[in-house]
């Protein structure tokens, strides 16, 4: 909530009046579980099943990350979420010169099927859902995952999880892109099509507002750009000849859980309502599985402060409550030390405990959409929905999200919002506790996780051995087959799986596709 004195508004600038009444809240929304699902996608929400507590983690080496996963599962975490390192996110092997200094720093390095086998050693992929935050190289990483599942004997129809695979928000916000937008969208559509045919319980895409918000957007921009991205993927899938009710039930979403408590709750409600209405209006579907927006939420990394890091526990708790009150299907809570480094084990455990306290002690999960009918929350829901419809119409007018990205439109909107926010912090118009008010002179450093640089050397050595022992003729043959397929309209998942089985590396697979697709560079603008 910004504003001291007379002018109050939400963090995104929606004016907030002194008190709202019945005239502000519009028509009462239908009960939870009924179209347009403003109040939640299930009738009983968390009474039936709690959200999945899914903490994102990965660092150093596949061996060490495997140990952390086993620890988190022992502590009662109910799903896994893989954080890959930057070389992997950009499609480079650990031994690529461009990867120097970055291997295992922000996540786990996965250069080949062998690394993926190590990552899930002793973890049964038939029994646990795994989310993978990977975008440009998503098809190749997913192929590695599917082959590990296959080697464990897990039925494809049984495995579940989520591939992030949302390339549009990379061009818009996070900037981890490799190929130009159109071939990238083709790859995304290939994975969606493959998933629909073979892995009916796996979400092939998680359409993400999280990174848009972290890049500095408002809640409204996060909502609008994310849903418009979703429509773009739907249009491509339909262009491929899939029926809406084949793919739309497998679309999942990923939103930020930020500081402005009521605006966030309203954002999730507006997202569900708007998605259901858009799916009905644009694609004429009546299948409720296609209409229901399911989402993962993560508390806001960008809200964490380096100063007085223990305050971050309180921020994260409030943000997590907003996500639960807003009806999230799964949740990641950030650790208190993340403005300093990747989380230590103690900090990661406390973050998980925060969710467990909300789930088991607060009483919140007993009632679906507890703020439904609140004059204020209903008013904000309506405001966000109307604002998002305006943005969506504007992007439609540009010819869709790809032309909008090529024009730099969403990028410029976000940059403007983030600079406005920072200036307000500097001017003291927005209070950040411990940063621009209630400061302390000394900041006590939390115990932080240090990544040993030996991790990089170990990964490089493993790759050297892999390249020496694999059948290089077979890996070259499958890479060539992948390239030939990329020149046609064929689905690339089958040749990708062949290349992975032959232990072709991630870097080799991405290089093969770069040969055909080219690469994307953004024109730097400030």
């Amino acid at each position: 909530m910004a504003g001291t004195g007379r002018n109050f508004s939400t963090s995104g600038g929606i004016p907030v009046e002194a008190a709202y009444g019945p005239e502000d809240s519009g028509q009462p929304a239908p009960p939870p579980g009924e179209f347009p699902y403003t109040r939640g996608i299930h009738e009983t929400m968390y009474r039936g099943r709690l959200w999945t507590m899914r903490q994102f983690s990965g660092f150093s080496t596949p061996e060490e990350t495997n140990q952390r996963y086993r620890y988190l599962l022992q502590q009662g975490q109910t799903g896994l979420s893989v954080a890959f390192d930057l070389p992997t996110l950009m499609g480079y092997d650990a031994d690529d010169p461009l990867a120097a200094g970055e291997v295992g720093r922000c996540g786990v390095p996965i250069s080949s099927l062998e690394d993926m086998e190590t990552l899930f050693d002793g973890i049964s992929l038939a029994d646990i859902s795994v989310s993978m935050t990977i975008n440009s190289p998503a098809a190749a990483i997913w192929a590695m995952y599917l082959v590990v599942a296959e080697k464990q004997g897990a039925e494809p129809a049984r495995i579940s999880g989520t591939l992030q695979n949302d390339i549009l928000k990379e061009y818009i916000a996070q900037k981890e892109y490799i190929y130009p937008p159109r071939p990238s969208l083709r790859l995304v559509t290939d994975t969606i099509e493959f998933g629909v045919r073979h892995t009916p319980r796996f979400n092939p895409i998680s359409i993400s507002g999280y990174h848009i918000r972290e890049a500095g957007s408002t809640a409204l921009q996060e909502l609008a750009f994310t849903l418009r991205d979703g429509l773009e993927y739907a249009d491509w899938a339909i262009g491929r000849g899939m029926a809406v009710d084949e793919f739309a039930p497998r679309f999942s979403f990923f939103f930020n859980a930020h500081n402005d408590f009521f605006e966030e709750i309203a954002k999730y409600r507006a997202a569900r309502k708007l998605w259901a209405e858009l799916m009905r209006e644009r694609y004429g579907t009546k299948d409720e599985r296609s209409l229901k927006l399911r989402f993962h939420a993560q508390t806001a990394g960008c809200s964490l402060t380096w100063q007085q890091p223990y305050n971050n526990v309180v921020r994260t708790t409030l943000q997590a409550m907003a996500a639960v009150l807003g009806g999230a299907q799964s949740l990641h809570t950030n650790s208190l030390d993340e403005a300093w480094a990747l989380p230590s084990e103690d900090a990661a455990t406390l973050a998980l405990r925060t969710q467990q306290v909300i789930a088991y002690e607060s009483g919140i999960p007993a009632e679906p959409d507890p703020f439904g009918g609140s004059y204020f929350v209903e008013h904000l829901t309506t405001q966000l929905e109307a604002g998002a419809r305006e943005y969506i119409a504007k992007i439609d007018g540009m010819g869709g999200m790809i032309p909008a990205i090529e024009k730099g439109y969403p990028q410029a909107e976000i940059a403007r919002a983030s600079y406005d926010y920072q200036r307000k912090v500097e001017a003291g118009e927005v209070t950040v506790v411990g940063v621009n008010r209630f400061q302390e002179t000394e900041t006590a450093a939390p115990e932080i996780l240090r990544i040993e640089s030996s991790a990089e050397a170990m990964q490089i050595e493993k790759l050297r051995r892999l390249r020496a022992k694999r059948n290089n003729e077979e890996s070259t043959r499958t890479l060539n087959a992948l390239k030939r397929a990329a020149e046609t309209n064929a689905n690339l998942m089958p040749p990708m799986l062949d290349a992975v089985r032959a232990y072709a590396t991630l870097g080799e697979i991405c290089a093969a596709l770069k040969d055909i697709f080219g690469t994307w560079e953004e024109r730097p603008q400030i």
């Binding site: 996110l89 890049a215 500095g216 402060t305 983030s418 920072q422 450093a445 932080i448 240090r450």
Partner: protein, 131 residues
């Protein structure tokens, strides 16, 4: 009137999180400086070449990925090799205290950690051009 301070702002390494770099570029520009923003994924060689061509007095490096210990020493080494030590280097990002001290020992003029104010960064760039 003295000519405006010219600053090269760069994002080295593979990380694409450019929110901070862009906010700082705007703040330095609003403070009257000329800012050249290189964009993403610049190697140390590209950065030092750009600094030479653009004739800047300050290089700002935004690094959030933890790769600073690999990237920054290489930039400093290249500046020495090319006799460009008059160009001051400022680093901003998620840099642990211990690493910040080490970077300053290598000749980095200043390290800004998370939570640094735009005012402090603008002043830091000005100070870098006064020595």
């Amino acid at each position: 009137m003295t000519p405006p301070i010219r600053v090269l702002l760069a994002k080295p390494g593979l990380d694409g999180h450019d929110r901070g770099a862009k906010v700082i570029a705007r703040a330095l520009r609003d403070a009257g400086m000329e800012v050249i923003y290189t964009g993403l994924r610049q190697t140390p060689e590209m950065i030092v070449n750009a600094a030479l061509q653009e004739d800047v007095r300050v290089i700002g490096l935004s690094i959030l990925s933890g790769a600073h210990n690999a990237i920054v020493p290489r930039v400093m080494e290249l500046l020495r090799e090319r006799e460009m030590t008059a160009v001051k280097v400022i680093v901003g990002g998620i840099i642990p205290d211990e690493d910040a001290r080490e970077l300053q020992r290598l000749g980095v003029f200043r390290v800004f950690q998370p939570g640094a104010s735009l005012d402090a960064i603008v002043s830091g760039v000005r100070e870098a051009t006064n020595c």
